[in-house]
């Protein structure tokens, strides 16, 4: 298992709801190449979010193997998974999930700070990332002073600043109007290619899927 930003083999995941066992994912085999933009589509309850959570290492599979950038994650303890998330993964959430007490620059800087990057280098990389997403003039602003589209651009900058192998994006355009959603999509595509990061994007948005390199559909926990 190597050469891919993320690779899943025979992945199963079930949830228990009282007496009922609900199969969320059933034998998923999926590979996402480095720099690839993959759209994950399917109706609600099809398993998109579960698959994203497994790719993002914030949930564990019941069976099967997952590798991030060639590194098998099966058997890693919580600390090791956290450190792998810190070093190799980026996240873009539907609700932006920026830290409201931090400025735009501090939000983007946070992953670099966690990774122990020296302060001078952090400053340079944050400035470059904010310039790339067109928010260099808003570096000192708090997120609540920004529009939805601007906040999502900050979130993209935060996800890409540490040069991750894979970015997990859960409905990144769902909270945005169509014009802003277009801009954000374009930005993800450009920045993803520029930084060499693969994107796995769960979405219902057809405009988004059209711009992705590949579209994968899920239904009842299986890939179609």
């Amino acid at each position: 298992m190597s050469g891919h930003a993320v690779e899943l083999r025979g992945v199963h995941k079930t949830y228990r709801l009282g007496q009922h066992v609900i199969p969320a994912l059933q034998g998923i085999d999926l590979s996402v190449a480095r720099g690839e933009l993959l759209a994950l589509t399917g109706p609600s309850g099809s398993g998109k979010s579960t698959l994203l959570n497994l790719c993002g290492l914030i949930d564990s599979a019941d069976a099967g193997e997952i590798a991030i950038d060639g590194q098998a994650v099966t058997g890693l303890d919580e600390t090791q998974r956290t450190l792998l998330r810190r070093d190799a993964l980026g996240f873009v959430f539907q609700g932006f999930n920026l830290v409201p007490v931090m400025t735009v620059a501090e939000n983007v800087d946070y992953p670099l700070f966690l990774a122990g990057v020296p302060a001078a280098e952090r400053r340079e990389r944050v400035a470059a990332q904010l310039l790339a997403v067109g928010l260099h003039d808003h570096a000192a602003h708090r997120p609540d002073a920004l529009s939805g589209g601007q906040r999502q651009r900050v979130a993209i900058a935060r996800a890409l600043v540490k040069r991750p192998k894979l970015v997990i994006a859960d409905e990144p355009t769902a909270s945005l109007d169509s014009h802003t959603a277009d801009q954000v999509l374009q930005l993800m595509r450009e920045r993803g290619h520029a930084e060499g990061a693969a994107f796995v994007i769960a979405t219902h948005d057809e405009r988004l899927t059209r711009r992705c390199d590949r579209v994968v559909a899920l239904r009842d926990g299986r890939l179609l």
Partner: protein
Amino acid sequence: MKWLKFAWLNTLRNRRRSLVTVAIAALGTAAILLAGGFALSTYQALAQAAARSSGHLVVGRPDQFTQDEDTPLQHGLDDAAGLRARLLADPAVRHVLPRVEFSGLISNGDKSTVMMASGVDPDGEFSVKGPFLSMTAGEVLAGGDSAQVMLGEGLARSLKARPGSSLTLLASTTDGALNALDVRVKGVFSTGVPEIDKRLVYTDLGTAQKLLNTTRVSTLGVFLDRMASTPAAQQRVAALFPALTVQTWLDQAFFYRSVRDLYNRIFGALGLIIGVIVVFVVANAMAMAIIERTREIGTLRALGTLPSQLLRTLALEGMLLGGSGALLGACLAGAVSLLLYVVPVQMPPPPGRSTGYPLTIAVDPLMFALTVAGMLLLAMAASAAVARKTVHTPVVDALAHT
């Protein structure tokens, strides 16, 4: 530094809640420091009074402190002058005051009553000890006065005596005979303790020794340059006079020890209760803040923040709330203590005493530092304790929290 800044910014999210938490921590800290300062001030005053009454050191024969006397001064010291001269050679010793303690009867001719008497060196006793007596009539005894006494207020009232009155002292001599001596009242005093004022008589050393037919003294009170010299001086004097017992003022100060034990328990319990209240308030504020930020904690965990790093920043947040409250409380307590020097407040007489005293609050840097540090650590620990569960919540669950 970044974690501290993050913690500081988090305390500003809900300013009203943070303000209330800081205010309660400040009031709690101030209450602990004021209560502690009052206790400390009381200890200092009682320690000074005890040392001033008995001397920092009390030198006597061993039996003087452990055995009852069959006859007056049975266990007294013989060569008081020689001992005094040797004691005064010690660099820390300022004064050595001989004292003859005895009991007997005092009579005005019509009425007799029991007295507890002290024969003292008047010049030394009343100048060294300072204003520990309040004269209500007449004058203080002076060197050269002979066959004169000072009476406690209650005793003078009982005997209808006033300055100039003639009284008779009756006591057993050292060889067991009964002796009487006519004396004149020079002054009437109050110690502030009515029970003592009903019995206490001061006379000069010569009159006491003449009444008891002896040249002995009961003990020598040794007054040092400062309280802190006491332990070292005790060792030196004990080495100088191996046949004698050298007690410190603390050994003699039963009242001081009783008050200290009582106050330690009262104020210790008070401090504990206040500390628990402050911890609960900080913990409650942090618990609310953490519940509100569960989703954000999930986000930070997803970004790669370790639970220990989140615990650290949340503990720092608690530290900032508790710590700033504690610092404010320390400033408040210091200000109140200083204000009491400028605007004195008189306290009512304690039980068993007839006079009140000015309220003073000691400002002890060590007590302030320990209290602030204690509050700080407790607030940190409380915050970490309430945050522990949330930072270990699975990231998926934390992100789904609404």
